[in-house]
Symmetry: C2
Subunit: 139 residues, 2 copies
DNA sequence: CGCAGATTTTAGAATGATTCTAACATAGCT
DNA sequence: AGCTATGTTAGAATCATTCTAAAATCTGCG
């Protein structure tokens, strides 16, 4: 018998199943936090804290595991703007980022607002997996 | 009486002095490695190893110190492509990067080869300090 | 339902990059 | 040479992240 899923986790459960991931208590909570309130940027630490504030019982290691699993199945995108910690973005459509160097805040820039007009060919034997544009901000 | 500077360090000494940095044995060696052979991309670890191979006696902490000082005075630029370690680039002119995700190799793309046509305005109270374009490569 | 086997979670240790500390050494001026 | 600010260093400390091995949980099946 499948276990009972609280109504507020229905959507998250659907997303996890569609991605081929088991619906564990921890993953449901994290998915709910990540995917039920518009696009978000989180770090492992920030997500862990947020989950803890909501009363979730899970370990930091699980947050790392889930962030990587979600990324692997295409539910998240990793964003590298700071040598030191990884950010994860729930916005999967092509877009770019403002990065506030002082605060560490990350903000989406819709794709239409930046035009990368010409791209060089990828070097022999390689292919371009992704184009990242980061506008670094100071105040 | 100023100390004697070996001829091969003359150029490096000039650059350090021009930047307002004292010419210590360690800085001379690092500057020589960094600035005497065209543009380079290094990490603290790679630079430390290279200096050690050349017989330099210095500590890793000094490499970190120097990389940051050189960056602060505008002799280097920090490049963030990997959450985990910082790269430093001796190429100070505007340009972008190919990043081989598999090997960690970084390669310059001349500015002329990429055109970032339109930029959004910086958000209220902030200004755009830098535009980074990274083409991530897989093989 | 109730179990077996596979997958997950977890605490804690381990790792890797980087920074800090506070003692020692040196550069640059007089 | 001698003074003093600056630079270097070993080693400890910190931070983000990954690993490990054991305990917990999930899912399919009888």
């Amino acid at each position: 018998m499948g276990k009972v899923i609280e109504p507020r986790f229905e959507a998250a459960a659907g997303q996890l199943r569609a991605a081929g991931l088991r619906t564990t208590r921890q993953r449901l909570m994290l998915a709910e936090i990540l995917f039920s309130q518009g696009h978000r940027h989180v770090t492992a630490e920030s997500l862990f804290t947020e989950a803890a504030e909501r009363g979730a019982r899970l370990s930091l290691a699980t947050v790392y595991n889930c962030l990587h699993q979600f990324t692997a199945v295409g539910l998240l995108r990793m964003v590298t703007v700071d040598a030191g910690r990884a950010y994860f973005d729930t916005n999967l459509s092509p877009h770019h980022h403002f990065y506030y160097e002082r605060s560490g805040e990350l903000r989406d820039i819709p794709e239409a607002e930046i035009a990368v007009a010409r791209l060089p060919a990828a070097p022999e034997g390689a292919k371009i997996a992704r184009v990242d544009v980061i506008l670094r901000l100071q105040d």
